[in-house]
């Protein structure tokens, strides 16, 4: 009797764990979003569409995404954990397997929006992405560039990217509580919002998103830790949020959900 119970327990246990184990095996590609990435819907949606992305996916053409960023686009010495790489992985999961997704990254280290924008024509000749995610503002905020100049630089940059035939998503600054007393982010956040509104392009509000995580205690962004762990987790969540944001803005249909 006892043996029977034990046996059934073992069987039950095995039956329960088997799918879990399988999911674990597939973790690098199909992991469910960790609870800590949770965000209110309004931070992940945009009224502005991404028509070219939608068209490319519909036609089954490969989706070329270019992330133009700065040092906060990457994590020193762990490129594969940075948000562009995470976004690529999640997008591949979400889209049908036949859909090719390539994400390339262009780092414009220590360049203001104006300096970065001046390279866009050449950059867009070299690569012809469907979607450009332009992350900017930090260097301008650190150097306290005139917000009006910043706004016109972003406007010009967006125009150059659009003229080259790409959809554009703007991404603003990181929320950095430790340097809050030293960097005045607000004018730059405001101006990016204005440009996005004027051009009808989606704005990925990285600042509000990270602040949300910090306020809810999901991440301690004050942490002085020197290890890359926190950065990896934050970038993972950012990548997921960004993928969902792009997906939503382009009004894409999710692939037949496996789970």
């Amino acid at each position: 009797m006892k043996a029977k119970v034990l046996l059934s327990l073992i069987l039950l246990y095995g039956g329960l764990t088997a799918p879990v184990a399988r999911a674990d095996d597939a973790a690098p590609t199909a992991s469910p979003a960790p609870a800590s990435c949770e965000l209110p819907a309004y931070l992940l949606t945009s009224e502005s569409p991404l028509p070219k992305v939608a068209a490319a996916v519909k036609a089954g053409r490969p989706l070329e995404i270019l992330v133009i960023g700065s040092r906060s686009t990457t994590i020193p010495s762990s490129e594969n954990s940075s948000y562009p790489a995470r976004m690529e992985a999640i997008l591949k999961e979400k889209l049908p397997p036949s859909e090719e997704v390539h994400v390339s990254v262009e780092i414009q280290s220590k360049r203001t929006a104006e300096e970065a924008a001046s390279t866009f024509v050449k950059l867009m000749e070299a690569k012809t992405p469907t979607l450009v995610i332009w992350q900017t503002g930090t260097v301008d905020a650190i150097r306290a560039i005139d917000p009006d100049e910043f706004r016109s630089a972003v406007t010009e940059g967006v125009a150059a990217l659009q003229n080259a035939g790409a959809d554009v998503v703007l991404m603003n600054l990181q929320y950095s509580p430790r340097t809050e007393t030293m960097i005045s982010a607000q004018p730059f956040l405001d101006n990016m919002r204005v440009v996005a509104q004027e051009h009808g392009i989606p704005l990925f509000d990285r600042f509000a998103i990270m602040r949300q995580w910090n306020d809810q205690g999901q991440f301690d962004l004050f942490s002085p830790s020197r290890g890359p762990e926190l950065a990896k987790q934050v970038h993972d969540c950012l990548g997921r949020a960004l993928a969902r944001f792009v997906f939503d803005a382009a009004r894409l249909e999710p692939a037949q959900q496996q789970n």
Partner: protein, 418 residues
């Protein structure tokens, strides 16, 4: 009630210039009027104290308390209140000095005040330098390597410190004092001109404001950029405050008490509240017409956007209407802490900036969390109150036992305003 405008400006100005000190310009029927000596406007102290508390809370990282600060409910914020009241009190005190002791004496007193504010600013900068150096050496989170670029200026302390002394290098949250220094430096000129023709002076101030917007005047900053509060634009509030102090407020009393003004102010405040709401509830913004949005944004704080200025005017109009000068509540012990802080504004302002630094530091180094945050905000306000009390004790008791007290005219605290 009305001012004695009939005397030609040139004679007064000429008389004042010819015999700067020792004259009794009052005899020449000045173009400005002042309230009786010793009559202290507690409402000014109250709202300046309030502004100081709000500035302190706004300088801390956002928290629950931040939702009580007025910038979340309309375009303008505590800075407007602060600069306006500073202009008002400065004109009130030094305007009297100018009438009674002449231009030279008044200018000398103003310059002494400017020096005090300057020293206070340099003191705060030193503390900031210590904080930023600490963060630079201790904080190496790989998530924020880019943001640490802000520390680059530490590589050239020689240049940075000289630029800070020239008021060209100003860290975040340290922009108000330099603005105040420049405005106070201009005060002798403003008062001298007000003595001649207050309305013309106010008109000139509006012209300068308009020219600033049209031709984009600004003061450059180090290492690049510009002053975060453009003095050429913000002078409008300061001069307007001075104009109100020197009789303008009384002349406007009919406008202020009219119902039309009241409803216009209420309508404007409601509209601006709605716009602010769309910043926090973005879903609402679809109900705002695109055209209005494009016309309205960006609302420029650097150059004191007209929307901000009008918002302040609307607030002030309602305050003056619903809070009479002799409101008994002004004497209540509950408002005493605010009034005390407002009466020693330079000291308390500096203290507030310092406490905000310190609060940041504690939040970052010891622990974060809402409870700690609330505790820091609360103790900050209590410390401000305590120090204000100690300062007034010094004035009342400690200083009195020494030599004969200064007369009321030279009381820098009333002009205060740091």
């Amino acid at each position: 009630m009305t001012i004695a405008d009939q005397v030609t400006g040139s004679t007064i100005a000429g008389a004042a210039e010819a015999k700067p000190a020792g004259t009794k310009p009052r005899a020449a029927a000045p173009a400005i009027t002042l309230p009786a000596i010793g009559e202290r406007e507690l409402r000014l102290d109250l709202f300046r104290g309030l502004a100081l508390w709000l500035i302190f809370i706004d300088h801390l990282p956002a928290s629950l308390l931040t939702w009580f600060t007025i910038r979340n409910y309309g375009f303008s914020d505590a800075t407007e209140i602060f600069i306006f009241i500073s202009g008002y009190t400065a004109a009130f005190v030094y305007g009297r000095a100018m009438l009674e002791s002449g231009v030279v004496i008044a200018t000398a007193r103003i310059l002494r005040r400017v020096w005090q504010i300057y020293v206070a600013h340099v003191f705060l900068f030193t503390i900031f330098l210590a904080e930023i150096s600490y963060v630079a050496t201790r904080f190496e989170n790989p998530l924020y390597t880019e943001e640490m670029g802000i520390m680059d200026f530490l590589k050239q302390p020689d240049v940075t410190i000289v630029q800070a002394l020239l008021l060209r290098f100003r860290p975040v949250n340290m922009d108000v004092l330099p603005l105040y220094i420049v405005l106070m430096l201009a005060l002798p000129l403003i008062l001298w001109s007000m003595k001649w023709r207050p309305d013309v002076t106010l008109g000139l101030s509006v012209v300068l404001y308009a020219v600033t917007w049209e031709y984009d005047l600004y003061l450059s900053a180090y290492p690049n950029g510009f002053w975060a509060f453009n003095p050429f634009a913000w002078q409008l509030l300061f001069v307007f405050g001075a104009w109100c102090a020197l009789g303008g407020a009384r002349r406007m009393s009919r406008i202020l008490s009219s119902r039309v003004t009241m409803w216009m102010a209420i309508a404007y405040l409601a509209a601006s509240f709605y716009v602010t709401l769309t910043w926090y509830v973005p879903q609402l913004s679809q109900f705002t017409p695109k055209l209005i949005e494009q016309w309205m944004y960006p609302i420029n704080k650097t150059d004191l956007d007209v929307l901000r200025f009008t918002h302040f005017l609307a607030l002030a109009a309602l305050t003056v209407r619903f809070l009479p000068r002799d409101w008994p509540g002004l004497k209540s012990p509950w408002l005493r802490p605010l009034i005390l802080c407002g009466q020693h504004s330079l000291e308390i302002f500096c203290l507030g900036v310092f406490l905000a630094f310190a609060g940041h530091f504690i939040l970052a180094e010891v622990s974060g969390g809402a409870a700690m945050h609330a505790l820091i905000s609360l103790s900050g306000v209590l410390i401000m109150w305590g120090v204000a009390w100690v300062i007034s004790w010094y004035k009342r008791v400690a200083d009195k036992s020494g030599a004969k007290t200064k007369n009321a005219v030279g009381n820098a605290d009333l002009a205060g305003g740091g």
